[in-house]
């Protein structure tokens, strides 16, 4: 099970946080800080798996992260997930974001936080991997956005 998905930048500012297990608000912020602390110390040519944090889930969890330009994408998983699979999943997620936002950059994530959440909802649901086919994900997100837009057109005409 995926316990949390965190995206933060090189200075530790959170860009997207999604927890699939209940934590109180201050615990959530503490987890973000601790994760940033662990991940930022890593060199660029070491492996993408980290153990040793203590806040989430006790002992059965590891952090799988990828560093893209200014952002860290961190998935916090337990032992029931395949580590290399999650690594690929991060790649799929980022490529999906790229397709949805057209050459996605950090500012896109900042200003369209809700949209990123909706895209993530198509990939991971309830801590489990839902869909890994990028085209399928993008198609569904498009349809949903179109539906939302059509409502607003209707309302603004009123």
């Amino acid at each position: 099970m995926i316990k949390a998905i965190l995206i933060f930048n090189n200075h530790g500012k959170p860009r997207l946080i999604r927890f699939y297990q209940y934590f109180a608000e201050d615990m959530q912020q503490q987890i973000i800080r601790e994760t940033f602390h662990l991940v930022s110390k890593r060199d660029d040519n070491v492996c993408n798996f980290l153990e040793g944090g203590s806040l989430i889930g006790g002992s059965d969890y590891k952090l799988i992260y990828r560093h893209y330009a200014t952002l860290y994408f961190v998935f916090c998983v337990d032992s029931s997930e395949s580590e290399l699979g999650i690594l690929d999943l991060i790649q799929v997620f980022v490529e999906t974001l790229d397709k949805c936002f057209e050459n996605v950059c950090e500012l896109d994530l900042i200003f369209h936080m809700d949209k990123v959440h909706y895209i993530l909802q198509e990939v991971v649901m309830g801590g489990m991997v839902l869909e890994t086919n990028m085209n399928e994900i993008v198609a569904q997100v498009e349809l949903q956005n179109r539906m939302e837009k059509s409502e607003f057109v209707f309302i603004s005409r009123m």
Partner: protein, 792 residues
């Protein structure tokens, strides 16, 4: 106008704040505005407000006032508002909040909505934060959705079902048939969801596991299709066709094939095929291969296949990509118990990984190396491990140190090697070892008779050079105990140190005065100094002066020791040599004792006369009994006397009150659980005192005195004192309290240990004193006959 423009405005404003304080101010203003708008009845921009609130929540500011708004938005008919409402529910609500119950109805309605996206929102929310009650309510709905024809909904319903099964395992049976039928789907998303659901059902319930074994041929068929199919653009990741689904199916096959021959047979061909055909140059292929290897090792596969699997792992281990190396070490860890020899072949590579600059790889290599230590390779492995310890990252030190200790204990080829290894670890990583190492090491040293002079020489050198507390404690103890060997300066195994008595005393005094010594260490040093008074010839006066200085020390423990040692010098000089002689070999305690289970409370010993020092160990208890009891003893006709105290036997216990472990004299050893008859020994004024023999040992017995009160008022200041004939030793543990509640509402117990090495008849005199309804009472009871088990 696009829906979140106001959100973007707010974000822009927040980002332009230059200081944290400014940002807080902006956010507070925004939150106040949002709260005001929430209170208005109808509002076009409701969804924007909630979106803004969620952004603020992500930054870490409180957002609980948005919970009711989420509920309202979810109930709205408009999709845009529902969307934000559900997102808010997933971020802000959880089953502990009351508001979460209110959305159950909305979710129920939305699950049967005509629009599939509304349905999917409801499913998503249920899967994220559905409580057990919600799951129970909505499970039939989910089951219905599992049978629709819409694959988008089906895959979401499958994962929702997994969440329900996790929360309420009994509902698993509801989904079993649906799960079966989902396996014949073509859509990969649905297949994936179905496999996850079946995996969860099998993990929860062994009966489902037996049922789903029939599905193995179907799964094999699907896998074959994936592996052998050509290039299919929609599921392709780096040349592998839907590796995510392959990995899931392999995992499920592993669960189904475990401990089951028929299922394992059905999979053998497939696993061989996957193992040979998958291209592992990219991560996707490696992921599939890795799962295959784990599955092969876990099921009852044929030996050829196992060899293939271990070879694949070996190849992984030599791969340049660090991720692959990490993964292979993880999988080797899983199989090291069962296929130990196969993993031993790769020991060289694993030990090399200890030197890898990557901390994660180091951690894996350390665990694996510790698992690979065996009697054959202990010397070479220990060399590598000690080398690693000196350069390892700080977070791994404690683990490495404890791993080295347990490995050394199990496979030490000689005692000298064992002591050397422990000393090496203490000098390199002394700050990170656990407290138990000190008594364990001391016990080890006492058993190694021939090595005493060697050990004390090495430790003396370490004492002068080092400051880590564990090492200093052990060194002080050794110098105190074997100081004469040190001064004689003869040693076979190592270069003897030419020290004078002054040097040794200097070293101990430095420890006593150093700011870096913990109170426990100072205690060790003081006792060691005292012990040296019998082992050296010239500087006894110096020792006396050192000891008397500490008689006014602020630390209670040190002060008590110093006062007692002073008394030993002044009044009981004739006994000093006997008291401070060499310690007997200490018995190794069972693991239960050394882990901190307190089987013995504070041990207090009774002495002949009032002035004689009573040495106390681990936890201090207020002892007002000493003087009163001694009056009792001196006044009786039998002149019962207890044997002289043996303080030296208690020296070994580290006096740090933090760890009650290390009760090296296992006084209550020997578990003879005989039925314990009880005897009423005193009954007066409503107070009943009963005696019960708990345990019988070769040389003694442990009894419990329990008191109860049948009057209407509480009895306070209840106190028991006991005396025994000479040649019998008495030790009283701490009473459970000193108040007897009225009307036998509770009991007081006190345990007493009698040591009877000469096997004389056991007799005991007990004085009971208490205060009942304002009057003080005191009575004496003679117990001549113990319940029969007391007689040998």
């Amino acid at each position: 106008m696009s829906p979140s423009v106001r959100l973007q405005e707010m974000i822009r404003v927040i980002r332009s704040a230059r200081t944290q304080c400014e940002e807080r101010g902006v956010i507070q203003r925004e939150c106040a505005a949002i709260r005001a708008q929430f209170r208005q009845a109808d509002n076009v921009g409701r969804s924007h407000n909630l979106a803004k609130l969620l952004y603020v929540h992500m930054l870490g500011y409180p957002a609980h006032f948005g919970q009711m708004e989420c509920v309202r938005l979810i109930a709205s008919p408009r999709y845009s508002e529902k969307r934000v409402g559900y997102l808010g529910a997933m971020m802000l609500l959880d089953e502990k909040q009351d508001a979460s119950l209110l959305i159950t109805n909305s979710i129920k309605n939305d699950l049967s909505h005509s629009n599939q996206y509304v349905q999917s929102l409801a499913l998503c929310t249920l899967a994220c934060m559905g409580s057990a009650e919600m799951c129970r309510d909505l499970a039939p709905e989910i089951d219905r959705l599992l049978r629709t024809s819409n694959s988008y909904i089906k895959k979401k319903a499958a994962l929702c079902a997994v969440h329900i099964v996790r929360k309420v395992p009994e509902l698993g049976e509801l989904f079993t048939t649906a799960a079966h039928s989902l396996l014949s789907e073509k859509n990969h998303g649905v297949l994936h969801g179905a496999v996850v659901l079946i995996t969860e059902l099998c993990e929860q319930n062994p009966e489902s596991l037996a049922q789903f074994r029939k599905v193995v041929p179907e799964l094999v068929h699907i896998m074959k299709g994936l592996v052998m199919s050509g290039y299919s653009p929609e599921h392709n990741v780096a040349g592998i066709s839907d590796p995510f689904l392959q990995v899931r199916i392999l995992r499920l096959l592993r669960i189904l094939g475990r401990n089951n021959d028929t299922a394992s047979d059905a999979m053998n061909d497939l696993l061989a095929q996957v193992a040979t055909n998958t291209d592992s140059s990219k991560t996707a292929g490696s992921a599939v291969l890795y799962e295959t290897v784990l599955t092969i090792m876990d099921i009852k596969s044929e030996s050829g296949l196992r060899v293939l699997a271990v070879n694949i792992l070996g190849r992984f281990l030599l791969n340049n990509d660090r991720n692959i190396r990490y993964i292979s070490m993880m999988s080797l860890q899983k199989i090291v118990q069962t296929d130990h020899n196969a993993v031993q072949r790769h020991r060289g590579t694993i030990v090399d990984c200890l030197k890898d600059p990557d901390a994660s790889v180091k951690r894996r290599a350390l665990e694996l190396s510790l698992a690979l230590v065996s009697a054959v390779n202990i010397r070479s492995m220990m060399k590598e491990l000690l080398l690693f310890l000196s350069s390892c990252p700080p977070e791994l030190r404690a683990q490495a140190a404890s791993g080295i200790f347990s490995a050394a204990e199990r496979y030490a080829p000689s005692q000298r090697w064992h002591i050397d290894t422990i000393l090496h670890v203490l000098t390199t990583a002394g700050a990170d070892v656990r407290d138990e190492t000190v008594p364990n090491l001391i016990q080890l040293i006492t058993t190694a008779n021939e090595l005493h002079s060697y050990t004390v020489h090495k430790l003396y050198r370490a004492l002068v050079a080092d400051i880590s507390q564990s090492l200093v404690q052990v060194a002080c103890w050794c110098v105190g105990e074997y100081g004469d060997l040190l001064l004689r300066a003869e040693c076979d195994d190592t270069e003897p140190v030419q020290v004078t008595e002054d040097d040794v005393l200097d070293a101990l005094e430095t420890v006593l005065q150093s700011h870096m010594s913990s109170p426990a260490t100072r205690g060790f040093a003081l006792t060691a100094t005292m012990k040296l008074s019998t082992r050296i010839t010239h500087n006894v006066d110096r020792i006396r002066s050192i000891v008397s200085i500490y008689g006014s020390c602020i630390d209670l423990e040190l002060q008590q020791r110093a006062v007692e040692y002073n008394a030993l010098f002044k009044k009981y000089d004739h006994m000093r040599a006997a008291v401070l002689e060499r310690m007997p070999v200490i018995d190794k305690t069972s693991p239960g004792h050394s882990k901190g289970e307190m089987t013995a409370g504070p041990v207090q010993e009774r002495d002949q006369t009032q002035k004689q020092p009573a040495v106390e160990t681990v936890s201090q208890e207020s002892t007002n009994q000493a003087s009163n009891l001694l009056d009792l003893l001196s006044s009786s006709d039998d002149a019962p006397q207890s044997t002289p105290a043996q303080p030296h036997s208690l020296d070994a216990c580290p006096t740090s009150s933090s760890s009650p472990e290390g009760d090296l004299l296992d006084l209550l050893g020997g578990l003879d659980l005989m039925p314990a008859p009880s005897l009423t020994v005193y009954e007066k004024n409503g107070v009943t005192l009963r005696l019960q023999c708990d345990r019988q040992m070769d040389t003694g017995v442990s009894i419990t005195l329990s008191a109860s009160n049948s009057t209407d008022g509480d009895i306070t200041q209840f106190n028991l004192q006991a005396a025994v004939p000479k040649c019998v030793q008495l030790q009283m543990k701490a009473p459970s309290g000193d108040v007897l509640p009225a009307r036998a509402a509770g009991q007081l117990t006190q345990a007493i240990l009698l040591k009877n090495p000469n096997k004389v008849g056991l007799r005991m005199r007990v004085r009971v004193s208490y205060c009942s309804q304002g009057t003080n009472y005191q009575d004496t009871v003679q117990i001549d006959s113990f319940p029969s088990v007391a007689w040998q």
